[in-house]
């Protein structure tokens, strides 16, 4: 990407815009059709156009952005890596194993659930012409992912003995498990496991990789540019190129989209998304289940009065979920049922939806002797809608007689001191879309600090049993049983699942086909 050229083009467009504003709306309309490329007609059934450069904008991580996605926490870090590197696989409900493999042909599980064999897809080539082998996968798993501190890689490290993975020939990797698990494909093929070449230590521009695009330019905090990799395994992208830009402000991302400076805007705030509703040139493409973020409130069971299950139930009944969906997200969200991971294959089935019942909540609080109790809900603007949700929940609590108030921390502070966070009586939280049972084992089982005093060895055992069950129907039954206990007695109010409110120019297509929607991929995308 030539930044100079960009800036000039931007200035030119800005000047034209200013002139148009001065002259009047007629010219403004004329200007807005002055697009860098022709507006092709894409009727139903028209085949997607190939070529062009898609420009997408994300929040980004500022100057601390790094190409090392194993240690890069921002969404853009992973989006960039997905464009650049090959993946083990993505979750795909329509796939044979519930996943769509990338650089793998398949994963076999031994009968005793103690080893997973990863079969490498033959003929995958890096940009330097070398062929991808088991050594590359081994290096990515045992040298890089095993050392990462990001939760998603810790999740895999809690299930698999990554350090003891072995190559068996050029096309096989044998991965031992730490405990018998049958759902390991879902853990390995969540989309996060990307493969780099054996021996990679430092991540830099120009290093060989095997993703759909080649990185041609990267400036931390500003953006990156890619061109199509013509030898990409499976399919070759339709786009000639891809530009990923950092635009931190939601309104600015929406403005760039409506003015035609970008084609795709990631994660808009609910209000910004609502303002785009009437815009004929763009469309909202919210992520679909299971790529939904859960917004929740954690009640600390190690402190009174949340040690009383009646109080916990009262708090769950007090939440007016429909109003939260309608008010905070303008309807662009889904009601939650106090359990995380909605839409994942191991999410509990057949549980009734928790009602909004303030009367019953009052009665329960009175029975528990907690009517008129005082509580402070601590939260922070960690993801759009979080503070607004807390504000509404506190109003709901006031209606059932709880003297509740919100304490809002500045951005980035809520989780900064984790022990202090885990000791809060009532705290706001959000859950990234990850499978239900493996996540429970990692972050909730065994009285983990992030469980807020929940310590139920019987539930922990049920989860372990469900994960170790090869028969999928039986696994589902036991898994649901475990989640029902959490639903009944748990200390989490999870009223809403919100999508990432992405928006794109009309005519852009194929982003959703790349799966793993919360970190959009563009290997199948095309422009209008």
């Amino acid at each position: 990407m030539s930044r100079q050229l960009d800036r000039r083009a931007f200035l030119r467009r800005g000047a034209a815009g200013a002139a148009a504003l001065a002259v009047g709306p007629g010219l403004l309309a004329a200007c807005s059709t002055d697009r860098p490329r022709s507006e092709g007609k894409t009727g139903a059934g028209a085949s997607p156009r190939s070529g062009g450069t898609l420009r997408a904008a994300f929040v980004g991580g500022g100057a601390s952005e790094s190409l090392d996605f194993f240690n890069g926490p921002s969404a853009l870090d992973l989006v960039r890596a997905r464009a650049w590197h090959g993946t083990l696989g993505n979750l795909d409900p329509s796939g044979a194993d519930g996943v769509r493999y990338g650089v793998l042909k398949g994963i076999d599980i031994s009968d005793d659930l103690s080893t997973y064999t990863l079969h490498v897809r033959p003929g995958v080539r890096f940009t330097d012409g070398s062929e991808l082998t088991s050594a590359d996968i081994l290096h990515s798993l045992s040298a890089l992912a095993a050392k990462s501190t990001l939760p998603v890689y810790r999740l895999a490290a809690a299930d698999f003995d990554l350090a003891h993975a072995k190559a068996d020939g050029d096309l096989k990797v044998v991965l031992p498990t730490l405990r018998p698990i049958a759902d390991g494909r879902m853990v390995l093929c969540q989309g996060n496991f990307l493969v780099v070449k054996n021996g990679t230590k430092a991540f830099r521009e120009g290093m060989p990789s095997c993703g759909p695009f080649r990185l041609t330019d990267f400036a931390a905090g500003q953006g990156s540019a890619f061109e199509r990799y013509d030898d990409h395994y499976g399919h070759v992208p339709l786009l000639d190129g891809l530009e990923l830009r950092s635009i931190a402000d939601s309104t600015a991302r929406a403005g760039a989209l409506t003015s035609g400076d970008i084609d795709f805007a990631h994660d808009l705030s609910p209000v910004t998304a609502r303002t785009l509703d009437d815009n004929g040139k763009v469309e909202l493409v919210p992520t679909k289940s299971p790529y939904l973020v859960g917004l929740s409130f954690q009640m600390n069971m190690s402190a009174k009065p949340f040690d009383d299950p009646r109080v916990r139930e009262a708090f769950k009944l007090a939440a007016d979920r429909q109003t939260m969906v309608k008010t905070v997200f303008h309807g662009n969200a889904q009601v939650g049922n106090d359990l995380p991971s909605i839409g994942f294959p191991d999410y509990a089935q057949g549980l009734p939806q928790r009602a909004h019942d303030p009367e019953r909540a009052r009665v329960l609080l009175k029975e528990a002797g907690a009517d008129g109790m005082k509580v402070t809900l601590t939260t922070g603007p960690e993801t759009p809608g979080m503070v607004e949700m807390a504000t509404l929940f506190v109003e709901d609590l006031k209606k059932v007689g709880v003297r509740a108030s919100v304490r809002e921390l500045p951005a980035g502070q809520l989780y900064a001191d984790f022990p202090a966070y885990a000791a809060l009586p009532l705290a706001g939280s959000y859950q990234m879309p990850v499978p239900a049972l493996s996540t429970y084992q990692m972050s909730t089982a065994g009285g983990s600090p992030s469980a807020f005093g929940w310590k139920e060895s019987a539930t922990d055992a049920l989860v372990a049993e469900a994960r170790a069950e090869s028969d999928s129907r039986e696994a589902k039954r036991v898994g649901t049983q475990a989640q029902r206990r959490r639903w009944e007695d748990g200390n989490q109010v999870l009223p809403v699942f919100k999508p990432n409110l992405n928006a794109q120019a009309k005519g852009v297509s194929g982003v959703r086909d790349d799966l793993f929607e919360q970190f959009p991929g563009f290997s199948q995308a095309s422009l209008a």
């Binding site: 939601s250 309104t251 705030s269 209000v271 910004t272 609502r274 303002t275 109003t323 309608k326 008010t327 905070v328 303008h330 603007p381 503070v387 607004e388 807390a390 504000t391 509404l392 506190v394 109003e395 108030s405 919100v406 304490r407 809002e408 921390l409 500045p410 951005a411 502070q413």
Partner: protein, 286 residues
């Protein structure tokens, strides 16, 4: 005692040629300011609804039920506007009072002390003044999230150094005037001189300075609200209302325009009042 000496202000003014000047009574600006401040302080008492209750769909247009429409979370904008000025005004007033007290004490002390230690004290104060006011507010508010006291302290810290400088200069002039030297030579105690000769004569500049600091304090406390510092959460605050409703400007105008206009009105009124006071004090003291 001082009664036998004319205060220096009057004496100087008598010697000054009468310059023609537009002399409008500060009464009108004073009344205007008082009105806005009263609106901010007493507004919560007349609000039709709870300022935090979610009542309807977000960004509804004004109608008979909601005079200014509803905000980003479906709360009544009118009730929030009525409730949202108190924090800003009280924080600014408390911060200004604290800054005034600190500035007065430090300024007079610096003037009373020997030249060298007075200068040293002033250098220390200057070191504080180097920090941008907003930075001080940001750091303290982030360190003590949601604390009113921290915000007041931050506002005071950000404005006090300037008061100190002004009041030291004012006290210096008075201290070096002949009648103070006469009073000291006569054997009056330092405390008595301070009380009867110095303080009454720097009251004018002090008042003017305080009014100017109040403008700065208002800006700071409104900015803190806008940035989501201060009490935060659901509590109404004009600064915060502007920032939380601006993204929906295309959907509804009143939720961000009403608090923004009130902020403008408040700071203009206080600014004009400060200007008038400065004018008077200038005529009185210079």
């Amino acid at each position: 005692m001082t009664t036998i000496l004319a205060p220096p202000g009057r004496r100087v003014r008598d010697n000054r040629p009468d310059t023609p000047r537009r002399r409008r009574s500060p009464l009108i600006t004073g009344a205007g300011t008082l009105l806005v401040i009263l609106f901010a302080l007493l507004g919560p008492l007349v609000a039709p609804y709870s300022p935090t209750a979610q009542l309807a769909a977000p960004f509804q247009q004004p109608d008979g039920q909601f005079l200014l429409g509803t905000d980003v979370l479906g709360r009544d904008v009118a009730s929030r506007v009525l409730g949202g000025g108190r924090t800003i005004v009280l924080t600014a007033l408390a911060g200004t009072a604290a800054a005034g007290a600190v500035g007065m004490a430090a300024g007079v002390l610096a003037a009373l002390a020997s030249r060298r230690s007075g200068d040293l004290l002033l250098r220390c104060v200057d070191a504080l003044a180097v920090l941008p006011g907003l930075l001080v507010v940001l750091v303290l508010a982030a360190g003590f999230p949601g604390s009113h006291a921290a915000l007041v302290a931050a506002v005071a810290l950000a404005t006090a150094p300037f008061s100190t400088r002004v009041l030291r200069a004012a006290a210096d002039t008075v201290l070096r005037s002949g009648y103070v030297e006469a009073a000291l030579a006569r054997g009056d105690g330092r405390w008595a001189v301070l009380r009867h000769d110095v303080l009454p004569n720097i009251a004018g500049p002090a008042l003017m300075d305080t009014a100017l600091r109040l403008v700065a304090s208002l800006h700071l406390s409104a900015t803190a609200g806008f940035l989501g510092l201060g009490p935060g959460g659901a509590a109404p605050d004009w600064g915060r209302m502007v920032s939380e409703n601006v993204p929906g400007a295309a959907l509804a105008v009143t939720p961000f325009l009403a608090p923004a206009l009130l902020l403008v009105l408040l700071s203009v009124a206080v600014g004009l009042l400060a200007g008038r006071l400065a004018d008077r004090a200038g005529r009185g003291a210079a």
